[in-house]
Symmetry: C2
Subunit: 155 residues, 2 copies
Amino acid sequence: MTEASSSLSAATAAAVVQALALRELRLTANRRSVLAMLEHGERPLTTEEVAAGSGVPVSTVYRNLAELVDAGVVVRVAGAGGGDRHELAEAFSEHHHHHLVCTDCGIVTDFTPSRQLETLIEQEVGALLASEGFEVAHHVFDVRGRCRACSSVRR
Amino acid sequence: MTEASSSLSAATAAAVVQALALRELRLTANRRSVLAMLEHGERPLTTEEVAAGSGVPVSTVYRNLAELVDAGVVVRVAGAGGGDRHELAEAFSEHHHHHLVCTDCGIVTDFTPSRQLETLIEQEVGALLASEGFEVAHHVFDVRGRCRACSSVRR
DNA sequence: ACTGTGAATGAGAATCATTATCAATATGTT
DNA sequence: AACATATTGATAATGATTCTCATTCACAGT
């Protein structure tokens, strides 16, 4: 209950209210703070990071993130060890992107692949329903390795 | 120490011995059982699954899997909840493939994308060193959704 | 604005997965 | 066989996440 450095944008808030209403969830001050963190963070955040940055108690952050994931507003991103990370679902944020996961320091940054690659991925993934009976929700394309900072240090 | 239903193939064993030797690790009976599970399982397995299936105590399975991951013989695959899953690294197994993760039951199955898609991915990923200073180890391309069994039931 | 009902909160307890400990044992070597 | 070192496994310790429950808050109807 301290404060959020910046608040949730009105556009996002409106869309979120809709999504939450379907599950009889309310857009409370805490959930606003949590979402604001994700909206303004330029990378997926751990539960601890969200709690620390928003001032919302950890138990509430855990609960809220789980509810928001269920509601499809937030998605979980697998990092490298440490805790799970979270970011706004694509429908509620800027653009489609993927992740660069540093296996040394665990940090996750975004990157946007070429339009060509995305198109091909979409095609391929779309065919899975027919071939495997697999109902695709979305795809994860992450690149793992060592970030610039880490590669200039150890090993 | 019960028994492994099937044993580790000789070819894999030979390659693994080499990889382990570099770290002064031995290919013990337990590690053989663990690896045999991964070699014959047709999908990534959780630590519990490996322990249950091989009869090796969980504490040892945890330790062995961690060592094998360090040695590059096994890779961790992020599932949906539950525990982390593991499979033989590509250098020690059949072919390059990716994963279909069911967000309902958590099961992970393999699928092989087209050669065209792989080539494009490789190109794009290779360019990241120059553009981002990111030293790529490998890429993860997983598709999330609901498997045939789960889509025919709930929701 | 006032009230009622159900959702949300938060501090701590409880749980679950994973890691560390350490004495006993197994491995590969000379 | 004897040695030096890696491995094992039962259990304790840790760390992350979930649960509990009495209190507080949010929204709808008045």
